[in-house]
Amino acid sequence: MKYVDEYRDGKMAKQIAENICQAVDADKVYHFMEFCGGHTHAIFRYGIPDLLPENIKMIHGPGCPVCILPIARIDSAIELAVEHGVILCSYGDMMRVPGSRRRSLLKAKAEGADIRMVYSCSDALTIAKDNPDKQVVFFAIGFETTTPPTALIIQLAEKQQVKNFSVFCNHVLTPSAISTILESPEVRDMGLVPLDGFIGPAHVSTIIGSQPYEYFSQEYQKPVVIAGFEPLDVLQAILMLVQQVNNGTATVENEFTRAVTPNGNEKAKSLVADIFEMRREFEWRGLGLVPYSGLRIKAKYAEFDAEKRFTLTPSKGKDNKACECPKILRGVKTPKDCKLFGTKCTPENPVGSCMVSSEGACAAYYSYGRYQLK
């Protein structure tokens, strides 16, 4: 496939890896965080750690919307389907994520709830039109990449007056999560998570552009390189970060110029701004309450807001105590540090969210990590 195959060339990967090996200063250790789950997945799938010199450490960030959704929100989604009897439409990624008492959407479906897996939010609107006597709720999750389609569908539902359709909004924002990591005591004071630079998200940045990352490079003096999700993109970004660290610079560079511009997709951004507004705070698994990190539906579209249409019981769902997902999401621990990893917690029978999504660090370690040389 064009724009895919040429960025997966094995020979070129070895060449870039060789360039990295020559560029690194043997006396330094480089700690880079890939924020996005898409990068975590690419790093493991293509065996990138085996190509890197020993003194480059990749830290996996919290950029997987499935992994960071707290148990309480999953409980609410299950409540919508079971207690309120709605047809709940969800992206496939969410189906097996365990909520309280390890209940999941898939288990609720097996018990008789009408939960349907959809590829696109437009499928959810179609289901609403096909079932006018039922309430249909779309379980919206995702970062800036997935938010514009949800905004479009709310706009369309209003235009077409689809009265039995609403959205359970769980959209979250990348820049506020990066701020939280940089502000966390583990990074700032305790030095538990040394961070020398970030690989910036690929598809999130196609929407928001490269400009929002300028703040991190200026305020926290950390270099950011926005990279595509293909292996050569990731390797090239690592090389660019190494060069920045060596030169003592902290700027935003864009490796993914074929799809990311400084301002991003203006049409998508203004649509999102029309439909959504920031929540004062939103809970993230692993990060806790993060200020201004989540979106809710604006009052003028309140009729399409499932949280306004249905009364939801606040859930006190807590993570399994032995599960290290919260620390893994903050980069403090790796999946191999978790007692449950690969034994009690596997992709087939996950305990924590990082094992569910293919972009979660645990799932990536489980699926590909065993082939790693080191």
Binding site: N19, P65, F143, T145, L152, H203, T206, G264, L271
Partner: protein, 88 residues
């Protein structure tokens, strides 16, 4: 979750939709988020929506960037080999 793939626009339809080619498979997607779309453009598709156009010139530049360094390294290596041979 944020994974998306490059697809080629084959036909532009009414209501902001288009038929795209995904490695041989044809699919109707929404192009409501894209301005100035033309047949033959590549777009990044995510959950049935085109998010952005791919800039073909920038794509070539990035490939050239990988290559440039490679060619440079190769040139240095060649030079070294050459010097080595001369010394012999």
């Amino acid at each position: 979750m944020c994974l998306a793939i490059p697809v080629k626009v084959e036909k532009i339809l009414a209501d902001d939709t288009a038929i795209v080619d995904i490695g041989g498979v044809k699919k109707e997607i929404s192009v409501a988020l894209i301005e100035d779309l033309a047949i033959g453009d590549y777009v990044i598709m995510h959950v049935g929506y085109a998010l952005n156009k791919i800039d073909p010139e920038e794509a070539i530049k990035t490939l050239a960037l990988f290559n440039e360094m490679g060619v440079l390294e190769q040139a240095i290596d060649d030079h070294k080999t050459h010097d080595h041979k001369v010394q012999e």
